[in-house]
Symmetry: C2
Subunit: 302 residues, 2 copies
């Protein structure tokens, strides 16, 4: 059973871990790179790393970064007056420096990601949506455009999001293997990631959007619980972009793309009013790998 | 009393600490940059950092790097197959990344070094010999030219040194402040560093060599103890480059530049045979700051 997951960071990584735990699934995770950024001259790929670390079982306590990491480097930056609010652990730094050096040597992000995944002995293919530069930028008050990480980490996603753009998406092509994996997949799973911030940047690549739209079986897992994001600003961002509240907003975010929407049991009432797609109601809290695997199996069995 | 020290790494750093401990001394340390290298894309300035860390009292147990540093980053590089024999501690890395970023932003090495020294609250001026690229390269067997760090760290200075070159020295100018400091100095101290590997790269900059040669009072401290280097390859390198053994070799290494040679008590006999310069015999073991300070005072009092 070939499955392709479209994934952002923490929620997508946990969904990936559940899918990867099902022995019959041959998994390819296509990961958002709109969050990629230059931090201290390093090419940081936050979502790719969260997916790889989580699949390897070495993710940090809040889902990002490495478990048991130390922050000697990051703390010491303060001595030199360097803005160190984007916290890079000492172990995490090794990966980021390796990637930065390999990119500088001319390797593609997808080739490097494959090497990294191999070094962590991960049983799934993890692929960036594109090897081309594609950056999610956020318009906040007073017509100011800022990078995703500036919005999300430095400003702790407190700003109201007025508009989003995916700079570079028009020129971006899918990374090698992405279209083949989608074409060969029996099932596409859109992770319970933030639709505008994590999934739209993937679908902003036209060839990917077309391939997903053409696919017969696309299941999205809603990131909402009782109409709100567990953490992060998904519900606020969707509202400020003019999407309807609750899972109606998720459905609209994926209009024309998704066949089935999986919603949490807390949102069973809300889900009854949704039309146009199949709705599956179940427990979507997948922090624990056992539940993530069950959810994967429930989706497969449908 | 204005003193300029020409310094390499560990020995020079300890001499600098002794000079800086004398309240009447206004110290400028002019530091070798021939050892600078690109490690994982970072601009490493091994001698500058050793001098700054030692003056700040935060040097590592073997003289290089930071005290109480950790190597989580460096060890983790092995996962990705990165050559991590040049050991960069997590604290040390913060400085190296700060410098690399500041250089990339167009700042000069001397301006950055000054900022770093200020951040460690050091009471001496620490200046790179030059802001221009100047690299010590080592010819080993079979006409192979390798970088200083490849010779010194990666190959643990086991190769026989057939020849040295200081690539970039012809085009290099002294960093801002170097010639002024030499011109204003009451005394020049050449540190007990490796003459061909640490001091010659400084003197390879013609304007510096001329200024030092013109100076009335230049005292060199020999790096030899009983004719051998305490650690490091100084005696072997001098021999393989055709210099005579013992302090005669040190004198020849500094011929025309030095007025006084300070040798260790173990080399009192050897020193008696030296002609052409004043010789001062004393205890030159300066690992302890108290003794380094006494040596500085003895040199001043002469």
């Amino acid at each position: 059973m070939k499955v392709v997951e479209l994934s952002g960071g923490v929620g997508g990584a946990r969904m990936a871990r559940g899918l990867a735990a099902v022995p019959t699934i041959d998994l390819t995770v296509v990961v958002n790179v709109g969050d990629d950024d230059d931090i201290h001259g390093l090419h940081v790929s936050a979502d790719l790393d969260t997916v790889i670390y989580t699949l390897a079982g070495v993710e940090g306590p809040d889902g990002w970064g490495r478990s048991a990491d130390t922050f000697a480097f990051n703390d010491e930056l303060a001595r030199f007056g360097v803005d160190n609010r984007f916290r890079l652990g000492d172990l995490d730094l090794a990966l980021n420096l390796f990637r930065t050096q390999a990119l500088a040597a001319g390797k593609s992000l997808s080739a490097i990601t494959s090497e990294i995944a191999t070094s962590f002995d991960i049983g799934a293919d993890v692929v960036p949506a594109t090897d081309d530069p594609l950056r999610t930028e956020v318009k906040v008050e007073r017509d100011e455009w800022i990078s995703f990480q500036e919005y999300f980490v430095m400003r702790a996603h407190q700003d109201e999001v007025e508009e989003l753009r995916y700079t570079g998406s028009e020129a971006a092509h899918p990374a090698p293997g992405v279209l083949d994996a989608i074409g060969a997949a029996d099932l596409i799973v859109i992770a319970p990631s933030n639709p505008p911030l994590s999934i739209w940047p993937i679908l902003a690549i036209d060839e990917i959007r077309q391939a997903i739209t053409r696919h017969q079986r696309v299941v999205a897992v809603s990131p909402l619980f009782g109409g709100k994001a567990l953490k992060g600003p998904a519900d606020r961002v969707m509202a400020s972009l003019g999407l309807p509240p609750g899972n109606a907003g998720v459905m609209e975010a994926y209009a024309g793309v998704v066949d089935t929407l999986v919603v949490d049991t807390q949102d069973a009432d809300d889900a009854r009013q949704l039309g146009g797609v199949e709705v599956m109601v179940t427990d979507t809290r997948i922090k624990e790998v056992a539940r993530a695997r069950e959810l994967a199996e429930e989706i497969l069995a449908r």
